[in-house]
Amino acid sequence: MSVKRNRLPREGIGSALAILFALIYLFPLYIAVSNSFKSYGDIIKSPLALPTRPTLDNFVEAFHSSNIASLYGTSLLITVSSVALLIFISSSAAYVITRRNNKACKFLYAYALIGIMVPPVVTLVPSIKTLSMLHLMYKPTGLLMFYGGAYFSTTIFLYTGFINSIPASLDESAYIDGASTIGIFFKIIFPLLKPCTATAVILMGMWIWNDFLNPMYILGSTSGRTITTGIYNAIGAYTSQWNLVFANVILASFPIVILYLCMQKQFMSGLTAGAVKG
């Protein structure tokens, strides 16, 4: 009993410290959010305070300066289709290369991991060459393919770790019962991958949503811009109108923050069961 009595105040202090730490950690975001509701003059006068005269002018202006709805549309299309493509191509490939214990699959695994070592800026220009040879430039399809190549390594890495933790007896017995490999994968394995897929959706979703350089060059200015490119355009680096900068920043970021908050649980369980055990 005495132990428990001792613990209560300590737990209180621990919780208080954790909350304090979290608040300090979020402080820069507080700056961005609170200043996006202030006028330029108010930011200069009191950058730290809560907005005393909150205004939506900055957001209104951000909406006016760029066509936000179409930016969101393009981003959503690109992000959703790229993530879907990546999940499909890498989960299926990962399944085969982890289950077949032969040299070819070991090689394919190592081959897939090469991509992790490559800084993304490096392959951009040569990729654009291959894209224009295939007539995929300026098209969302082209960007889709580019992401398929760029993040394949990471998703393979995630899925192989996770599939390793699923007992092989499960699909082997289905195979003996006469089910086809493709059938087993889609009917039995893929549903079991849900936590890992959640992890992949969050990671890929945030990387692709936030990406800036690749859409800028691959989509050009003809097939619409993504929100990140569009916002960056609107901000420009010439401006020191921080109120507008922050309003743009928030418009660009909040969908992805919400996605994370919604999928947090699955994301965590995916990581727990997956990569770290592999």
């Binding site: 220009v125 295939l134 995929l136 082209g142 200015s221 680096a237 010439y238 020191s240």
Partner: protein, 418 residues
């Protein structure tokens, strides 16, 4: 075998989705230089006016997506990836001409310009120069008067004036390295007065390897530049951006702003509570030299399908006086057409014109044109590296030696390619 078959199948699938037919229409892509004074809307208005006049042509505007990607950098990426525009704002044709990317204008194409020959490369003109800018020092007249300072006519007087300001607790110059280019303007000014005034075609001699960057005149110029940067620009020159420089000067935190005439556009806003004056950087004896930039203009891509439409568009740009006047007004520029174009000028801008009327004009050092132009890549070395290193106190002579070494590398690259 099955493996190969399925590979082929997949490849076909991908290509199949890709091959969409291109609709035939006269469409030209115009790559512009987006700046605070010349936002996207301005360039779009040019395109709109042209399309209204020529309904069968479609003009599409593209531009560098942010100031983090400079225009030449963006254009090089477009070129490397086969997306080079039909018409573009061109700042350094010397980087593009060796690879055959630009279309040369024919004799007579640019007759409407005052000097169609400025900046020719190997006798051919690749750029329709659309503006002239000068660089010099904007100063706070009230501060000068309050401290009994006259406009400096010699280098020594400039140093004395700076000392007086410093003693009065005022930061003499506003300058920053963070954006990478503004400090280069001050270096250009000194190179102009101390080197190019003696020998306007020094650039061509450097390109022929008859002279070196490490020579007494340029050493002297860069030492002066270093003096200003290390002694008279406040304590945090490395962290200051261009916007902050303007803020410092126009809010009265610094007395002088060494930069280009485009700042007239800021002066015109009349948000400052003091009178702004302007003087060129003085030499040892007198103040009689001004550096002029004529390196920017419109160029046509060599691979355009519609060279005649492009030329017509450029002609339209220069001869639609309202449009061209609007363009000049945005930065209070100097026109380059045969018929001078009138626009609403601020008094300071007129005063500049009077001041430089009798001065020796030399080209801006980093952006000399035609056969005087720096070899490809050297301008970036000058702004991104050398002038920044000198500004934070590096040894001038060894920096210039390093610049000469860089020249060797650039030269070798050109010879290798030939």
């Amino acid at each position: 075998m099955k493996k190969i078959l399925s590979l082929i199948l997949c490849a076909l699938l991908i290509c199949g989705t890709a091959c969409a037919a291109f609709a035939e229409e006269t469409k030209i892509v115009f790559c512009v230089n987006i700046q605070p004074q010349l936002p996207l809307e301005f360039w779009q208005s040019i395109a709109d006016r042209y399309m209204a006049a020529k309904p069968d042509v479609k003009v599409e505007i593209i531009g560098n997506p942010s100031s983090n990607v400079t225009l030449p950098q963006y254009e090089k990426t477009l070129l490397a990836t086969d997306q080079f525009p039909d018409i573009m704002v061109m700042q350094n044709p010397a980087d593009f001409v060796p690879s055959g990317a630009l279309l040369a204008f024919d004799e007579g194409d640019l007759d409407y310009l005052a000097d169609p020959n400025v900046g020719k490369i190997d006798g051919k003109q690749y750029v329709a120069n659309y503006k002239k800018q000068i660089i010099g020092v904007f100063y706070n007249k009230d501060m000068f008067a309050a401290n009994g300072i006259e406009v400096p006519q010699t280098w020594q007087a400039l140093v004395d004036a700076s000392e007086t300001l410093l003693a009065a607790g005022i930061q003499p110059f506003s300058l920053g390295l963070k954006d990478g280019w503004p400090q280069g303007q001050l270096a250009n000014m000194f190179a102009g007065t101390d080197l190019l005034a003696k020998d306007p075609h020094w650039g061509a001699k450097r390109n022929a390897d008859e002279v070196k960057f490490n020579n007494p005149d340029l050493v002297k110029a860069m030492e002066k530049y270093q003096t200003i940067c290390t002694k008279y620009c406040g304590s945090n020159i490395t962290g200051i951006t261009y916007t902050q420089m303007l803020e410092q000067f126009f809010t009265g935190k610094a007395a002088m702003l060494p930069i280009g005439s485009w700042v007239n556009a800021e002066v015109a806003k009349a948000e400052q509570d003091f009178e702004v004056g302007w003087f060129p950087i003085p030499g040892d004896e007198d103040a009689n030299v001004v550096s002029v930039f004529v390196n920017e203009g419109l160029s046509i891509g060599a691979d355009t399908k519609y060279p005649e439409v492009c030329k017509d568009f450029i002609h339209f740009f220069f001869t639609d006086k309202e449009l061209y006047g609007e363009f000049l007004k945005s930065e209070q520029l100097f026109s380059t057409t045969k018929d001078p174009v009138e626009y609403e000028m601020i008094p300071l801008r007129k005063n500049m014109e009077e001041q430089i009327a009798n001065m020796t004009e030399v080209e801006g050092f980093e952006s000399m044109t035609g056969d005087d132009a720096f070899l490809p890549g050297l301008k970036d070395y000058f702004t991104n590296k050398m002038t920044q290193n000198i500004a934070i106190g590096a040894d001038v002579a060894s920096e210039l030696d390093a610049f000469d070494e860089e020249w060797e590398i650039a030269k070798e690259a050109i010879d290798d390619a030939a």
